[in-house]
Subunit: 339 residues, 2 copies
């Protein structure tokens, strides 16, 4: 069964209701001065005909696209089969939800944008998740002169954007360190991703500050974004003369392979080694033992970013152009559990 494709316009409604198009427009937008009776009749006719104002016409008139884009910069670095996708989906759904509430559509921008694909991009602003230093796609997008809100700061030199929503990675790291130290750890290693994104840099800063404040030796390992690399590195660490008694993994999807590799080595978690992760996710509870981690609240981050961008686009100048969200330490068995 096919429905006639003839779209209803404001003119049809006007004719049917015996009013002018202006009246229809005013009714739909709550503008103008109309009698309640007229408004009601127009509304009834509109509903009956199934009238919906055409977004493209309105946009042309308003000179704005009524859309925002989401660009996940770090996604370029994530190999297929790697965890981390889930984090971004949660963020994306959160952002899309708020965007729609505010009358904006949210288009997903794939990584690896080709210059000619740019023609189809029609957005008033962008949410850029986890900008990686010197990201080519982001550079191209920025040059379009779009309003940009980043999730986490942009480490690219000279980059400047309209707003930022982030969590406090330095503090997260210190929460984890305090926690494992309280569980008795003395030689705590940090495995970080070998990319230049603000979150991993800030985790490192937090780690260094904590170590230097306590006179503890730093043990930082840089690894490629790749679960096997995390496991291999853990083994190497444990083979050292003075092996760590705790490993903090900075990379989503890294902690579970670490636990696994360590156990295959014949060591027990948490008895012989404490393991924790800077990013929560399904992997954490699927592991045995379950892994202590930080809940970064991706959905909420997405909601806030979209809300901030929408406000800026609406011309509001929110005082807090840089918002910092609270995170939560989730203690699980891999660091000794609750007690």
């Amino acid at each position: 069964m096919t429905t006639p494709v003839r779209r209803i316009t404001a003119r049809h409604v006007a004719r049917e209701a015996g009013v002018s198009v202006t009246t229809v427009s005013d009714t739909m937008n709550g503008t103008g001065r109309l009698s309640a009776k007229t408004r009601e009749r127009v509304l009834a006719v509109a509903a009956e005909l199934g009238y919906r104002p055409r977004a493209s016409a309105r946009r042309l008139r308003e000179g704005r696209s009524g859309q925002i884009g989401l660009y996940c910069s770090f996604l370029t670095e994530i190999p297929a089969g790697m965890a981390g996708m889930g984090y971004y989906m949660a963020l994306a759904m959160g952002a899309a939800e708020v965007a729609l509430e505010r009358g904006l559509g949210m288009v997903l921008l794939p990584t690896g944008l080709t210059p000619d694909a740019l023609g189809a991009i029609d957005v008033d602003g962008l949410v850029v998740a986890d900008p990686v230093r010197d990201d080519e796609g982001l550079r191209v997008l920025s040059e379009l002169g779009l309003t940009v809100v980043t999730v986490g700061r942009d480490p690219t030199p000279g980059a400047h954007h309209a707003g930022c929503v982030r969590t406090d990675d330095r503090r997260d790291m210190q929460m984890l360190l305090d926690h494992v130290a309280a569980r008795g750890a003395r030689r705590i290693a940090f495995v970080r991703a070998d990319i230049e994104a603000e979150w991993t840099e800030q985790l490192t800063v937090g780690y260094r500050e904590w170590c230097s404040a306590r006179g503890a030796a730093e043990r930082i390992e840089r690894i490629p974004v790749n679960p096997e690399a995390a496991a291999e590195t853990a083994i190497q660490l444990l083979d050292q003369l003075d092996p760590p008694d705790a490993i903090i993994c900075g990379l989503d999807g890294g902690a579970a392979p670490v636990v696994r590799a360590v156990q295959e080595r014949g060591l027990r978690v948490p008895e012989d080694l404490l393991v924790s992760s800077c990013v929560d996710g399904p992997l954490m509870t699927a592991s045995a033992p379950a892994i202590t981690s930080i809940d970064l609240q991706p959905a909420e981050v997405g909601r806030r970013s979209a809300a901030l961008l929408a406000s800026i686009l609406e011309g509001a100048a929110p005082r807090d152009r840089e918002q910092v969200l609270e995170t939560r330490l989730i203690v699980r068995a891999s660091t000794g559990g609750l007690d």
Copy 2:
């Protein structure tokens, strides 16, 4: 109030290049008959001024929105922290990529659409991932009269859509069954999600067919979409008088908790019990042992869906309105590994 920055229009380019707007339009679209020289000059001026045709104007003119939407029906059912998000992100990126290549933007539609949020939705068609029977959001969207391509068939009675991209879940199940049977399993249980989506129904059909062809007893457990439910069910199964020697988990994120629970029970995987999953993902390789599963190729599914939808919207009537993708069995240690 600041003066809005007037964007460069075709008129500016025309004036600057000393031609008419039509010529500019023809140059940008490759239409009309222009001398190479003129086209070159116009192109040069356009580039110099940074002219980009305004999408909303073009769309108004063409009467189409130039956008498609992605609606993940099953996402409604997924609790926070559950796996499965990653699958949809991969699918979404694949779809967005192809959409953009074909000049279409892809907007992400959140689940739980409120009727007034509908105003901001402006798409020519939809990709609906894993439609769940009687999904309210999908019903609302369908009533807009949009062209719909589903990923997996829509189990809603009477539902009919323009196209479908899917994998063969029946066959997947039978691959898994053949595999674990070859590894010596005789009493194979199937843990399925208690929702009405085509994939879980088809897995069940495949399971039943296989069992009945071999005279094997059926052991089907329906569980809510929830990782703990999978683990609990596994334990219950193993407590029975005649416990299974293999469990196939139909739900993304379910197999890992099953392995874990089984091991905590003191049983070994794969020696005492074979475990496998109908959906591959990061959890599979993070578990110990790694879990045998089916690679459903979400990115490719996303790409194909967007391509099919784009073709249909362009008026092409592709012969294969229902496309079936090949999947791949990935054998890992949880069923004895390769040998």
